[in-house]
């Protein structure tokens, strides 16, 4: 009976999550391009050999990692600051919390188009302010050095509220008498943050970190609309590269290989994260 109730959901889950991986494993051993008339032809490990020597794949992997680490790091720092601010009691707190959550609810493609205009050179508001201060306007989205920072900025703007919300929920779980006892023993408020808040908040930081890192490493919508991966592929991510291989270069076998390669890198970084977490816990019992 119990199995019967679960069966429909589990079948759909297998079809949506498990079947694609099997399909890619098979497809990565095929050549399926315009040269094969878009029909699959077995080629052994040729796609995988190509992947290992594909500079664009590894460049995109490094760019994806750079984007994920910097933006998730910023989101955690900013999110913690916002959560601490919203955790105190003051008038109007509820309204401010509602308003600060708004960016999170915007569809990514909508806000990406908005940020394209905000970062516009020379007519966007950021460059407008810079010019009125007598500074030169900066080509945020046209420069290979600056464009990835524009992507980080837009992502941080949109997802920091989510991180702040999780950390706020964590702060609300910490019993207040801990702080009172700490103050009675002569502890300063600033020390309380380091000695009580941060250690007890650790599980929530970890949840936010895992969730956001996974999302950031798979970033697609934001880059596709904000920069299209440009200029000169400087903001291209692995997900976008896999998409381009399938939908623009019509190289389905290689696209599947790129996705599996990305999956392997994700698993490796998840493993590293688990190991780091265990060492962190071991160091501070």
């Amino acid at each position: 009976m119990s199995l019967l109730l679960m069966a429909p959901a589990l079948l759909l889950l297998l079809a949506v999550f498990f079947w694609p991986m099997l399909d890619y494993a098979w497809l990565s051993l095929q050549a399926q391009t315009v040269f094969t008339g878009l029909k699959p032809v077995p080629v052994g490990l040729a796609n995988w050999e190509r992947l290992l020597g594909d500079g664009r794949f590894w460049q995109d992997a490094a760019q994806t990692l750079r984007f994920a680490v910097v933006s998730v790091g910023l989101e955690l720092l900013l999110g913690l600051a916002i959560a601490l601010l919203l955790h105190q009691s003051w008038r109007g707190r509820g309204l401010v919390r509602s308003l600060s959550l708004l960016p999170w609810a915007l569809p990514t493609t909508v806000m990406a188009l908005g940020w394209r205009w905000i970062l516009n050179d020379p007519n966007g508001p950021i460059n407008g302010v810079m010019q009125s201060l007598g500074l030169p306007s900066l080509p945020f989205l046209a420069s290979t050095q600056l464009a990835w920072l524009g992507v980080v900025l837009a992502d941080t703007w949109k997802t920091t509220p989510f991180v702040a919300l999780l950390l706020l929920a964590g702060l609300q779980m910490i019993p207040t008498d801990l702080y009172e006892a700490f103050a009675l023993e002569g502890g300063r408020p600033w020390q309380g943050l380091r000695r009580i808040t941060l250690p007890l908040l650790r599980p929530y930081v970890l949840i936010a970190l895992i969730f956001r890192l996974a999302q950031a490493l798979g970033v697609f919508d934001l880059v596709a609309v904000l920069t299209g991966g440009g200029p000169a592929s400087s903001t291209e991510t692995l997900a976008l590269y896999a998409y381009l291989n399938a939908m623009r270069f019509l190289d389905f076998g290689y696209s599947a290989t790129v996705m599996l390669g990305m999956f392997v890198l994700l698993l490796a970084s998840a493993l590293l994260l688990v190991l780091a977490q265990q060492r962190w816990q071991g160091a501070r019992p």
Partner: protein, 281 residues
């Protein structure tokens, strides 16, 4: 009197922090609203163009385009609502059954659901597209509900399972003694009690389905079928030579307002779903 400067300093600090937070959160959206109401000339004049130059022409251009912008909003709403219903219909029985087990299978399924919930689903788009083509589901708006429900199930089952697990077992045992069938127990006793969790879950699924991009982008090509996310991308890629910033901004305002309104109305439920999902999942 002597203590007042010390008291005022934290308050002043807090006020400036709150002001910064509001500026950071709202300024980008207000800038879009402002841009959407400006004529092209006044936008290119920089800060000197402040003052005159207000117009509603950007909105009428977007609303009267071919297809009109309202079509995308309607498509997203239809797909979002149907995906939410399908997800709940599949997730509620599964979550109930899972919450009543305590064996190895529950551990395996629970672990699988957790892994699936954090999996970057964009990786799945190519295989799902091939399935859609084989089954003739491409360019079928309603068929999007299938992958959307599948992708939403991990979080939905985890959230609902936690809610079922919180209910006391005696409640159901009593109903069983009174001769209630499984369907009756679910319908009349258990579901009303986990109502808040169902609402939170449904809202999160709706938000996801409304916003979903890579699958909608690859499954839909006919412009009158597009949901909001791929329509936005198509608008963004449309004008190569002269970029109609005002019309773009009007599109972002129209595309953003429905969800902002939804968030403000159902804020409590959405926040509860998000935090529960993270803590219990």
């Amino acid at each position: 009197m002597s203590s007042s400067p010390l008291r005022q300093r934290p308050a002043l600090l807090r006020i400036s922090m709150v002001a910064l937070l509001l500026l950071w959160s709202l300024a980008p959206m207000l800038w879009q609203l402002y841009t959407s109401l400006r004529t092209p000339e006044s936008l290119l004049a920089g800060l000197a163009g402040l003052g005159g130059g207000w117009t509603l022409a950007n909105y009428s251009a977007v609303l009267q385009a071919d297809p009109p912008f309202g079509v995308y909003l309607l498509n997203s709403t239809v797909v979002g609502a149907l995906s939410t219903l399908l997800t709940l219909a599949l997730a509620i029985p599964c979550a109930y059954a899972l919450s009543r087990r305590s064996d190895l299978l529950k551990l395996v399924i629970g672990g699988g659901l957790l892994a699936a919930a954090v999996f970057p689903y964009v990786l799945l788009f190519l295989a799902l597209l091939q399935v859609a083509r084989q089954l003739g589901l491409a360019n079928n708006l309603l068929a999007l509900c299938l992958p959307y429900a599948g992708l939403s199930l991990p979080l939905a089952v985890l959230l609902l399972q936690a809610a079922f697990a919180d209910l006391p077992v005696e409640l159901e045992e009593n109903a069983l003694l009174e001769g209630f069938s499984l369907g009756q127990r679910l319908r009349w006793i258990l579901l009303p009690l986990i109502g808040p969790a169902v609402v939170s879950t449904g809202l999160l699924v709706f938000l996801f389905s409304w916003n979903e991009f890579p699958i909608a982008l690859t499954w839909l090509s006919r412009s009158e079928l597009l949901t909001l996310a791929p329509a936005m991308a198509r608008i963004a890629g449309s004008s190569v030579f002269t970029v109609p910033h005002g019309a773009f901004a009007a599109a972002t305002v129209l595309g953003g307002v429905p969800l902002l309104a939804l968030l403000l109305i159902f804020q409590r439920q959405i926040v509860a779903g998000l935090t529960q999902g993270a803590i219990k999942g």
